[in-house]
């Protein structure tokens, strides 16, 4: 029983971070139909930002989210404005190749500047895990879980209750109709890209105290990210959240009750099954 509960806790904690990375990717796809292959690198940049603000200025990584998230939001908007906008009319394939190139560029510049060394960030207060009812809950993951939930809830409120949020959703449903209703689609796209970037980076910031970082860490994250997003339905935010939690849970329970060696295989089998019976993903709209 204890093992089962522990696995559930592990799965939820890891899943919440998966979900957050997935949401960023899916938001961008929903509005702009861009499959952002540089998403993993955005997470990586978020990780490095938190790492440096901790190492150089002794700012707690969780606290640093307060200024890194807005900064990455602006950086994302600038990226859209100056790097992506011109390429979007070229179609999905062009943007795909473009973001793939961007991902390589960012990863390699990072390799050049920060070298291939991996680093970890250890918080002194996070060394010993909490043990409610004999179940180990690592402190950094627990904090990350709470913050990830808050950020995702905030995103939900933003999309549901504000005018810009409604505009984002409208654009995601039908860009032409949205434009006819007087929505500035270009501005919405820019905001959305900023939002996606900020989500990816904040996932990176929250992940740093629990994981290690090096310039090409984005690679391992990106594959999972795509599974999550497609699982939940491309473009669907609740889908990405559900997909992230589901993947975290399946990996965790699968590793304990089946075999660790098949952990990834189990995740992908579930992925294939979902696609087989619900090609649009769990929460995706029927095409």
């Amino acid at each position: 029983m204890e093992t089962f509960l522990q696995s559930l806790v592990n799965g939820t904690l890891t899943g919440s971070l998966y979900a957050m990375i997935g949401v960023g990717l899916t938001v961008i796809f929903g509005v702009m139909r861009i499959i952002n292959l540089a998403h993993g690198e955005m997470v990586m940049l978020g990780m490095f930002s938190a790492y440096w603000s901790y190492t150089l200025w002794k700012i707690d990584p969780f606290l640093s989210a307060i200024f890194w998230i807005p900064l990455f939001f602006i950086a994302g908007m600038l990226t859209y404005r100056h790097l992506l906008k011109a390429i979007i009319p070229g179609g999905e394939l062009n943007t795909l190749l473009y973001t793939a190139g961007l991902s390589l560029l960012v990863a390699n510049v990072a390799l050049f500047v920060w070298t291939g060394d991996y680093r970890t960030l250890n918080l002194p207060y996070a060394m010993t895990p909490l043990r409610p009812f004999g179940i180990a809950v690592p402190v950094p993951l627990a904090i990350a879980f709470v913050l990830a939930s808050l950020i995702t809830a905030g995103l939900y409120l933003f999309l549901g209750r504000t005018d810009i949020g409604r505009a984002v959703r409208a654009t995601s449903q039908n860009p032409e109709a949205a434009a006819l209703m007087g929505i500035n689609v270009e501005r919405v796209s820019m905001i959305t890209f900023g939002l996606g970037t900020a989500l990816a980076a904040s996932a990176g910031v929250l992940l740093v105290p629990s994981l290690y970082l090096y310039p090409t860490v984005g690679e391992i994250l990106l594959v999972k990210c795509f599974v999550i997003v497609v699982l939940g339905g491309l473009g669907s935010i609740p889908g990405a959240i559900a997909g992230g939690l589901l993947l975290g849970m399946v990996e965790s329970l699968g590793a304990v009750y089946v075999s660790v060696a098949y952990k990834d295989a189990i995740g992908f089998v579930m992925f294939l099954l979902v696609l087989l019976f619900r090609p649009q993903g769990l929460f995706g709209a029927r095409p």
Binding site: P138, L211, T216, V217, E251, A255, S259
Partner: protein, 410 residues
């Protein structure tokens, strides 16, 4: 116009002279595929430093029969397929006389196959999977001990220290050639002593979350936890998650790889304390000559050399010794064969220890070819203490008394 003439002359000379001319004037080239980028990059860097120091020393002392030696490092990013590609590139395009390096077993297996096919000697300096020297490849030599020898010091420790024989053991290892051969060797010995293996868990490299595995192991409350990780990031996360979830064995024992490098202590801090590592040694620390090398290395790079640096440095000396004894004619194929012949009669001592290549049977019955016959003496059990990995067993190579059972977990 003048540049044209000059380049025409140069071209002509190159075409006329071909191989022999280049060899007569040029340096003696040694090729080394290593991971210079990616998660294994810190290892590539260790070997680069070790090679550079050895090359500098040898060249400063007049080189090899008057010629300078040179090590050409190619980046394989810790990817097996890429390792084969760069090995082939070093052999066919860079025209190196001999290969060394490789870093991890998965990549070294690929390099060994290429070396055998293209008839180029390959001196393995660190990759340890048994299979590399158990395929009957006559072009492949190995100075360091094989993976199945790594746990020998651990076996001695649990057999010789009173009360240390495990009552049960959880074995967690990565599903690479390295991970599997070491885990297999350790488990074979434990089974022969009737120690129940309560967990036999293989995980894929670059696992982001070890909590599920250690949760599973915790349910069995193992007396010993044995861990194999080829990648340091895996070693770090595995140890961290094991302690977070609350595994409380009498001893955490790693087997080289990520458990033998300073980064483990640097990144884990107090969590690395008292963790054991049974692996290839770094030379005998009680030997004054080895000590002198450690100091020299430290004064140059401000790092105390461990296993990897000592192995890389020694490999260049073994190669230089073979190059010195081989009759080099300038014909690449003949020279490579001459070097292979010379390696077969190697009999020397480096900072890593004695070396002589021979054919013999390993602890799991693998038939080795060109494996250092002194390898069984080159395994040592060490323990992380205050951020340093200090030898604790066998006694004659110990730097400090062991601490067992682990007071932080028991």
């Amino acid at each position: 116009m003048r540049t044209l003439i000059v380049s025409a002359v140069v071209m002509g000379l190159l075409l006329m002279g071909g191989g022999p001319l280049a060899a007569a004037d040029g340096t003696l080239k040694i090729g080394a595929p290593q991971p210079m980028t990616g998660s294994d990059a810190p290892f590539g860097d260790k070997f680069k430093k070790a090679y550079s120091l050895a090359v500098e020393e040898i060249n400063a002392a007049g080189g090899v029969n008057g010629k300078k030696i040179e090590v050409i490092i190619e980046d394989h990013q810790a990817k097996n397929a890429l390792a084969a590609t760069v090995a082939e590139k070093l052999i066919t395009q860079e025209k190196v006389l001999i290969l060394t390096g490789g870093r991890a077993s998965g990549q070294a297996v690929e390099i060994a196959s290429v070396a055998q096919r293209l008839k180029t000697p390959y001196l393995v300096d660190h990759p340890s999977a048994d299979i590399i020297t158990a395929k009957g490849f006559e072009w492949v030599f190995r100075n360091n001990p094989t993976g199945s020898i790594y746990p020998q010091a651990f076996n001695k420790f649990i057999s010789e220290v009173p009360g240390a024989m495990p009552k049960s053991a959880a074995v967690i290892y990565d599903n690479t050639v390295f991970g599997k051969s070491i885990a297999n060797s350790a488990m074979t010995f434990l089974r022969s002593k009737n120690v129940p293996i309560v967990n036999d868990e293989a995980y894929p490299v670059n696992t982001l979350d070890f909590k599920p595995i250690v949760t599973k192991a915790k349910a069995n409350n193992p007396d010993f936890v044995l861990m194999v990780a080829v990648s340091t990031t895996d070693a770090i996360l595995l140890t961290r998650h094991a302690k977070e979830i609350g595994l409380k064995p009498r001893a955490f024992v790693g087997f080289g790889g990520g458990f033998g490098v300073e980064d483990l202590a640097k990144q884990l801090g107090p969590l690395s304390e008292k963790v054991f590592s049974s692996a290839a040694w770094s030379g005998n620390p009680n030997d004054p000559k080895v000590k002198a090398f450690y100091d020299k290395f430290y004064s140059k790079y401000h790092i105390y050399p461990k296993e990897h640096e000592v192995e890389g440095y020694s490999a260049i000396y073994i190669i230089a010794d073979a190059l010195r004894r081989a009759k080099l004619t300038g014909n690449l194929d003949a020279d490579r064969d001459a070097i292979r012949q010379a390696l077969m009669t190697t009999d020397m001592t480096t900072v890593f220890g004695k070396v002589k290549f021979g054919n013999w049977d390993g602890p799991l019955g693998d038939h080795y070819t060109n494996q250092n016959i002194y390898s069984p003496e080159h395994s040592v059990m060490a323990q992380w203490r205050g951020g340093k990995l200090l030898n604790v067993w066998p006694k004659e190579n110990a730097e400090t008394p062991y601490i067992f059972p682990d007071p932080t977990t028991k």
